[in-house]
């Protein structure tokens, strides 16, 4: 019987999660476009010193509020700083906010969610009440309150957003752990004498990677948007850090005479958030087709 099987039969080749994901993803044009846009954004952030025509913080009192021209492609701000250079360097702020906020919130959420889902009972009750309390606040209001308590600044944005957003991951990881804790492979691991820590993080967690990756990608876009909002309100990155939200805020007072001032950083935010949304949507459909349309 075995002899009748052709050699190198491709249909028998092992297909992992990533192979299937990539196969689905590459057939999704919108997701591919998102991936390319994300790639360009990351390249701009990495090569900012090479791409930016000027030092983003260089004050030039002889070139205050210059309109877009051959010399200053996107114009200059009220200190005569080149806006194109500030927007290019701003991508570094955005990518760091997107990634670090997600790392903070997913780490807290994974620990809390796994404890609640694995142990259940009182631990679950306590953690989920804490989740309920945090989720009872409109998210921006709670973030603002935390920022007021900690003081403005980029590092505090990481902490504040991480402290507010871990609840989403915690809920997802909790339900995943609740499903997995009764499965046979977990029982087998327990029978082999593994302790709870090994079972939770070596055996169950790798099976929850798909929702974690989806949450991470979608969350990057939300974190970039939230940082821009906080900086716009004066609570995020402080001068002279070139945050897109604060550039828009500075441009607000010149809206009538210099509308381009706020136009370009806003486009940069829209481009980046759109890129991560397109890619995140596609990745979600590719990694977990059951979640499509949710």
């Amino acid at each position: 019987m075995l002899k009748s099987l052709p050699k190198n039969n491709k249909s028998l080749k092992h297909r992992g999660l990533w192979y299937d994901t990539w196969r689905r993803l590459k057939n999704n044009r919108a997701a591919l476009l998102g991936l390319i846009m994300v790639g360009i954004f990351i390249l701009v952030a990495i090569f900012a010193p090479l791409l930016a025509p000027y030092d983003p913080n260089e004050i030039n009192l002889g070139a205050i509020l210059k309109e877009p021209s051959a010399e200053y492609w996107l114009g200059t701000d009220y200190y005569g700083r080149d806006l194109l250079s500030r927007i290019i360097y701003g991508s570094r702020i955005s990518i760091s906010v997107g990634v670090i906020v997600q790392l903070v919130s997913i780490s807290i959420g994974t620990v809390m969610g796994s404890l609640a889902g694995y142990y259940g009972g009182k631990v679950d009750m306590l953690i989920m009440r804490l989740v309920d309390i945090v989720m009872s606040f409109p998210s921006l209001l709670l973030t603002i309150a935390i920022m007021v308590a900690l003081g403005p600044g980029l590092y505090n944005v990481f902490l504040a957003l991480g402290a507010v957003w871990w609840t989403r991951t915690a809920r997802i990881i909790r339900s995943e752990f609740m499903q997995h804790r009764e499965k046979e492979y977990v029982e087998a691991a327990r029978a082999l004498g593994n302790n709870d820590f090994i079972i939770m993080y070596k055996h169950i967690l790798p099976n929850c990677l798909a929702p974690i990756i989806i949450t991470f990608t979608m969350g990057v876009a939300s974190a970039i948007m939230a940082e821009a909002s906080l900086s716009f309100l004066g609570l995020g990155a402080q001068e002279p850090t070139p945050s897109w939200g604060s550039i828009i805020n500075n441009g607000l007072q010149y809206l009538r005479t210099k509308p381009w001032y706020s136009l370009f950083p806003g486009l940069a935010i829209a481009y980046t958030v759109l890129a991560f949304n397109l890619f995140g949507d596609g990745l979600r459909d590719a990694l977990d087709p059951k979640m499509k349309n949710h």
């Binding site: 007021v148 308590a149 821009a228 949304n277 349309n293």
Partner: protein
Amino acid sequence: MTQYIIRRLLLIIPVLLGVLFLTFVLMYLVPGDPVLTMLGQHAEDDIIQRLRAELNLDAPWYSQFFSYLTRTLKGDLGRSYISRVEVTEALKQKLPNTFKLALAAIIVSTIMGIAIGVISAVFKNTWIDHLAMTFALFFISTPVFWFGMLLIYFFSMTLGWTPVSGMGEGSFNLKHLILPAITLGSRFAAFLARYTRSIMLEVISEDYIRTARSKGLKENVVILKHGLRNAMIPIVTVVGMNFASLLNGSVLTETIFAWPGFGRYLVTAIKKRDFQVIAGCVWVGALIFVFVNLIVDIFYVMLDPRISYD
């Protein structure tokens, strides 16, 4: 049903106590002395001491929390450090303005979102669908405050059709309301368009729609009367749940349009480091959020008999 409502109400009590405690902790952690904020850096020592005692600031934290708890539950949110106006009184004036803006935003976004979503579903995978969904995704990705600024630049500053800011005279001034309402509702309209499309696609594939078509009914009757009506329960729920979330957007929208509501009151307090006002706004914001979501949940259960109360 009554049992369900009572249980939900009882469950809210520990959550609200937690919310109150968290708000207290955050304001307790705030660096700097509130008394110095109120009196200025050059106030005399005995006046500072008297005010500290009056505000119970010398007591241990648990005693401060207990007095904060009893005051807040009585509806007393303290006085602004700067203007000395009672926060509860100020919020009574500001909240109706925010409610008016949120209601206008939800009306605009619901009409636009559902219309675009239905059209997209009917013309699934055609250029109309692709165009509508691209626009929807663009609006979801656009910062609310930036979109508001673009609207002000084009419609107020360039064309002169609408006023730049403020609420205008009288209780209802459409010219003043329209741009802030569109700004606040834009992201939700885009989200609702995507959501309505996916719900409508599910409904359109149901057997009763095929039956309606095979009876020879006109396509618009099939879509609007048989399709949309059945898609309305999840859509109405999403609209209700997002009504409370508009408080987030109102903070940014009101700042841009100088709309005299809750959000602008909060942002002004942040700029002046008026912690009493900030704490009051955060508490009231959470209170509204919790109760609006509770009402939506109850309505949802009442609307759809398939959902169990357990």
